[in-house]
């Protein structure tokens, strides 16, 4: 490589900083540092004349490494990076420091100390800059296609968006029919219109307007040419990389040809097998060949293979006028290549029979919300009449119990968030249809946080629905009359009530769909402790997962109502489009690289990489070596911080660069206090240091800051090296343990720090000299305080005498 020629650009912020920092002394110092060939001082370098000076110096070939000390760091760093890239210098050859917030501001009371620290900071940046190397841009091909798993409203809406955008979309649903919960719920609050209503696709050309929405079976979305719908199907394997996943789907047979069935219903008349209809709360039966309701998709009957007698019967085969029934269909495996995967598997009701005192499953007149919804639905088993399942007579007195399994430490500690509204909806629907019904809702708290929701609740009260604050202790059954009694303490009036009921409706907790965990494992994403899919960042990236190209939508992440589900669905679709729309994935090679000669195949790094970017490969038919996928690697360095052979380097933060900077920072003190090295992650840790400076919080100038991508990159030897380089104390500043931008970096390094403290003690070195802090941006005060306290602690401990001896 060419000889390094470092240009140093020193901004004084228009004399802002000259009152504190002696710029003449600093400039003179910098000029003498080996490798520095060009020094410019100005009021700013991120725009105007200052930036031009830098660009010219690069264009004229005077400098090939740039060190910038600016006073407006966050904004200017990007501008300068873009400008030097345009001038022909790879922007990874720039090193950037902030003499204002990291030096002048916090040390304004000790100007001469601040000046010495500025020299050390510049020296550190220069020494690091000398070792920088350019990083390439990488391009990976990406397919403009998606697989959507789950055919509820989330999955359908996402599929429509993506298909409308022109992606090839496959929507797979494990059940024989689409719709998910919406197909069972009948009506949806707060508008009380049909639950099974979705936004029409733009390909529904004849009737589309920008407000167009229709029920699933009329919407025309099933006719979008680039949307392939597979029901009765499950994902069994996922391989490949973001932008190019290879998915295997297993399709269980329907036994009825979708292209031939004409919904004549002749088959159900002849089918001899009759079983309880699960879709309809077992309040009626269905045949082995059946359809849920006429308005479903696909509009094709299906045979339940677990009960059908097949060729011992074959009556439906004979009667079918279009020869649509094929009893010899076999399950088949379909493979497809897709650029992205959207998981929209929804949720389901918790099994309330676990709560013995409510006797669900034992007393037929104790039902759940979903079962009640089937009764209220005109297409349901009772034609819209709410009955007592024990005798199928109308139920007049109804008691509803909220939080069944939810907000209960024994079962699900969380609030399922939609069941208050569901119960209120059911109560008002029943009350409107049967004004003299007597409905009581027993609740702990009523949660109606959405728009219009509180109004909905008020309306219910006005209609005469009674609300009792209390969690019922038991449901009893009068053995003679068969009536139910609900025991509850009314907490507001402090009295025990025995509520008589024809029907008790439970509002069970909502839990993840069956098989969610398995699906997560197949795809390689995570679920939370509660079993729902884990979002990449709950606040900012709620529909992304840590795997690029895999998104989550709707109830799969947590119970949601339909409006929130729709928001999610559109967001997930947008994310997939953003990721794939150019047909390629472009990224900087800011990745880890493993030196095969030194990798000892210990297989630690594949386990600690939070992004599954490392795999083992056999070389020359003998040794296994670890290998990083440039596509998957996020560049955190956690693998570097793990590798016991030091076989891994981060291209944008190499060990030699860190060492050089560390030594330089520790080579100049200029204060009477013990030197402290603060190693900060470039995310919240460094931001906390910024914010302490911005708020002009003071801490002593003996504290020196070094930035790394994530504290996860740090190894125990770096702490020891810092002491050897002259640090009397070391602070490691990372993100909050569960707020780490790279998932596990803070957590892993916290353990390294703890172990190092134990080790230091054995070495006779006070463990208090090393400290790990976890901060967010706004905790600049915490940083300043910790820096101050570390300094005071070290002053008490006295100087650290170590190393070698004779």
């Amino acid at each position: 490589m060419d000889q390094v020629q470092v240009g140093v650009f020193l901004s004084d912020g228009g004399n802002q900083l000259t009152k504190i920092l002696d710029y003449n002394a600093i400039t003179e110092f910098v000029k003498k540092v080996a490798g520095v060939v060009f020094v410019a001082r100005g009021s700013e370098f991120w725009r105007g004349q200052g930036l031009q000076t830098m660009v010219d110096a690069i264009r004229e070939g005077k400098v090939n490494r740039v060190v910038v000390a600016e006073t407006l760091p966050k904004l200017s760093e990007v501008k300068i990076a873009n400008a030097i890239e345009d001038a022909g210098l790879n922007h990874y050859l720039m090193e950037f420091i902030d003499l204002k917030d990291h030096c002048a501001s916090p040390h304004q009371k000790t100007p001469s100390e601040a000046t010495e620290k500025a020299k050390a900071m510049l020296l550190g940046a220069i020494e690091r800059a000398k070792l920088l190397e350019p990083l390439e841009k990488l391009e990976f091909p990406a397919l403009k296609s998606s697989l959507v798993v789950g055919g509820g409203i989330a999955g359908m809406q996402t599929a429509i968006d993506l298909a409308d955008f022109g992606f090839e979309v496959s929507l797979i649903e494990k059940e024989p029919f689409l719709g998910g919960l919406a197909a069972q719920a009948g009506r949806f609050f707060p508008t009380d219109d049909c639950a099974i209503c979705i936004q029409s696709p733009s390909s529904d050309i004849k009737t589309i307007t920008h407000t167009s929405r229709k029920c699933v079976y009329r919407s025309g979305f099933t006719e979008i040419p680039n949307l392939n719908i597979l029901t009765n199907s499950r994902v069994v394997a996922v391989e490949g990389v973001p932008g190019n996943y290879k998915v295997t789907v297993e399709k269980t047979p329907r036994y009825v040809d979708e292209d031939k069935c004409v919904q004549c219903d002749l088959c159900t008349a002849v089918c001899p097998v009759e079983v309880p209809d699960e879709h309809n709360a077992r309040l009626r039966t269905r045949k082995a060949i059946y359809i849920n309701v006429p308005h479903v998709h696909p509009p094709t009957y299906v045979i339940d293979g677990s009960v059908c007698k097949f060729h011992d019967c074959a009556k439906c085969v004979d009667i079918c006028p279009t020869k649509a029934v094929d009893l010899d269909q076999r399950s088949e495996k379909v493979t497809m290549s897709v650029g992205s995967i959207i998981v929209a598997t929804g949720f389901k009701e918790f099994n309330s029979s676990a709560i013995k005192e409510y006797h669900y499953g034992e007393y037929p007149d104790v039902v759940t919300n979903l079962e009640l919804a089937r009764m209220i639905d005109g297409f349901g088993p009772t034609g819209g009449v709410v009955v007592r399942p024990s005798n199928m007579k109308p139920a007049k007195k109804i008691v509803m119990i909220q939080c069944v399994g939810s907000r209960d430490q024994r079962y699900k500690p969380y609030c399922s968030s939609i069941c208050c509204m569901i119960s209120i909806k059911h109560a008002t629907l029943i009350k409107s249809a049967y004004p003299n019904s007597d409905i009581t809702i027993c609740y702990i708290d009523i949660r109606t946080t959405g728009r219009e929701h509180e109004y909905y609740y008020e309306k219910a009260r006005e209609m005469g629905i009674k609300f009792v604050k209390g969690r019922p202790t038991e449901i009893l059954r009068d053995p003679e009359k068969g009536k139910l009694i609900v025991d509850v303490e009314d907490a507001l009036l402090s009295r025990f009530l025995e509520l008589e009921a024809d029907l008790v409706v439970l509002a069970p907790a909502m839990i993840p769909a069956d098989g969610a965990k398995k699906l997560a494992e197949i795809i390689g994403i995570e679920t939370e402790e509660d079993g729902f899919f884990k979002e990449y960042n709950a606040k900012l990236r709620p529909t992304e997962t840590k795997l690029k190209g895999v998104y989550i939508a709707g109830g799969a992440t947590f119970p949601k109502d339909a409006p929130t589900t729709s928001l999610h669905a559109h967001s997930a679709a947008m994310k997939a489009v953003k990721f794939l729309h150019t047909g390629k994935i472009v990224k900087d090679q800011r990745t880890a690289v493993i030196n095969e000669d030194y990798c000892g195949d210990c297989e630690f790094c594949p386990v600690t990489c939070p992004y599954g970017a490392i795999t083992l490969e056999q070389k020359d038919g003998e040794h296994f070596v670890a290998k990083v996928s440039d596509l998957l690697c996020e560049g955190c360095g956690i693998c570097v911080g793990t590798c016991p052979q030091n076989a891994i380097e981060l291209r944008h933060c190499r060990t030699d660069q860190m060492q050089a900077q560390m030594k330089a920072l520790m080579s100049i003190n200029g204060t009477s206090k013990p030197l402290v090295l603060a190693i900060c992650c470039s995310e919240c840790g460094h931001a906390a240091v910024d914010s302490s400076g911005m708020a002009k919080m003071e801490y002593p100038a003996n504290v020196r800051v070094m930035k790394v991508p994530c504290v996860g990159i740090l190894q125990v030897h770096q702490f020891l090296d810092a002491f050897k380089a002259g640090a009397q104390g070391v602070m490691v500043v990372g993100c909050k343990i569960d707020g780490c931008h790279y998932e596990v970096g803070s957590q892993k390094t916290e353990k390294k720090v703890e172990l190092t403290k134990i080790l230091l003690k054995e070495y006779g070195v006070e463990p208090e000299r090393l400290e790990m802090l976890n901060m967010v941006f706004i905790e600049g005060d915490k940083f300043a305080e910790a820096a101050q306290m570390m300094t005071e602690r070290l002053e008490k401990l006295g100087s650290l005498q170590t190393f070698g001896g004779s």
């Binding site: 000892g600 210990c602 125990v716 134990i758 080790l759 170590t802």
Partner: protein
């Protein structure tokens, strides 16, 4: 004309003597060595005096294999002497390379070592409390004895070293390779080690699993299946942080690697490398507290060559 035979030397400083035996463990290959080289100095086997070495011209020894750490003034003196007299100086064995068990004395200093060795141990009978002195008056005159240092050093902390071959003792195939390289003048770049670049795990036949360390166990606490990686069974194994060469002898016979080959080629501190890796796979904070005797476990062979090198003694 017959080629002139090479001149080689062996020396032991602060060591157990195992390295000397290892030289003989190359069995019949020793005959090739003797055929190609003259042994000009080997205190453990042949009768030479220091003055014989002093009399040799500088750089007249072609290769010197130096085992043992630098514990005393005598060790240092001879290390310097042999350096001067040898073209190639090889740090032979863990003591010379990394300080080895001898180096664990760096957790103490001269005073505390003497205290322990010359008065405290149950087998000591020393009513006068005699400890080694550097100067002794005897009737023939003043006797000067070599000083016992506070801190054990490695050979390369004392003199310039050309090649390294660590291990306690070095693995036999690597010793053979070393001799062959020197006898055939087929030498790697200065500073190289004659051990492979990989780690023990590379040579270990045990099957690696998911590496989720939730509890640290001692070897007697597990029901070893003789197949699964010991770390995957919860036992601390130094294999991942230890340079290959021995063919994973210990894990092969159901004992965890304790690290005698020293750190990998890019690692400066073996214990720190092991600690980083172990901390990274610990699934809960309790694991950290289960680490007992971190220096004895992770620095058994490399304390003297570690970044901090010795314990800070509070006076």
């Amino acid at each position: 004309m017959e080629k002139e035979k090479l001149k080689i030397a062996f020396y032991w400083a602060a060591s157990c003597g195992g390295c000397e035996i290892a030289v003989l463990d190359i069995n019949e290959k020793i005959l090739d060595v003797v055929a190609a080289a003259d042994i000009v100095f080997w205190p453990v086997a042949l009768d030479f005096k220091y003055k014989d070495v002093e009399a040799m011209p500088d750089k007249s020894i072609d290769a010197c294999f130096f085992n043992g750490a630098i514990r005393t003034e005598e060790n240092e003196h001879i290390a310097k002497l042999l350096r001067r007299k040898s073209k190639i100086l090889v740090a032979f064995g863990s003591c010379a390379c990394d300080g080895c068990v001898v180096g664990l004395a760096n957790l103490w200093d001269r005073e505390t070592v003497f205290e322990r060795a010359y008065s405290e141990t149950p087998s000591t009978n020393n009513p006068e409390g005699t400890t080694p002195k550097t100067l002794l008056e005897v009737k023939e005159g003043k006797l000067k004895l070599p000083e016992f240092y506070d801190t054990v050093k490695t050979l390369s902390q004392t003199v310039d070293v050309d090649y390294f071959i660590s291990g306690c003792p070095p693995p036999i195939p690597c010793i053979i390779q070393t001799f062959q390289a020197i006898l055939t003048n087929n030498l790697p770049p200065k500073g190289s080690s004659f051990l492979p670049n990989k780690s023990i795990c590379d040579e270990c036949p045990r099957e690696k699993k998911d590496k989720q360390l939730s509890e640290i166990k001692r070897i007697y606490e597990i029901d070893d299946d003789f197949k699964t990686c010991l770390l995957d069974q919860g036992v601390i194994c130094m294999g991942p942080a230890t340079r290959a060469g021995c063919g994973a002898q210990c894990p092969n016979v159901n004992m965890p690697c304790t690290g005698c080959n020293g750190p990998g080629p890019r690692v400066t501190d073996q214990g720190a490398a092991a600690l980083s890796a172990i901390a990274s796979i610990a699934t809960n904070p309790e694991v950290i507290n289960q680490v007992v005797d971190p220096i004895g476990t992770f620095y058994k062979y490399s304390l003297a060559n570690s970044i901090l090198r010795r314990k800070v003694m509070k006076k």
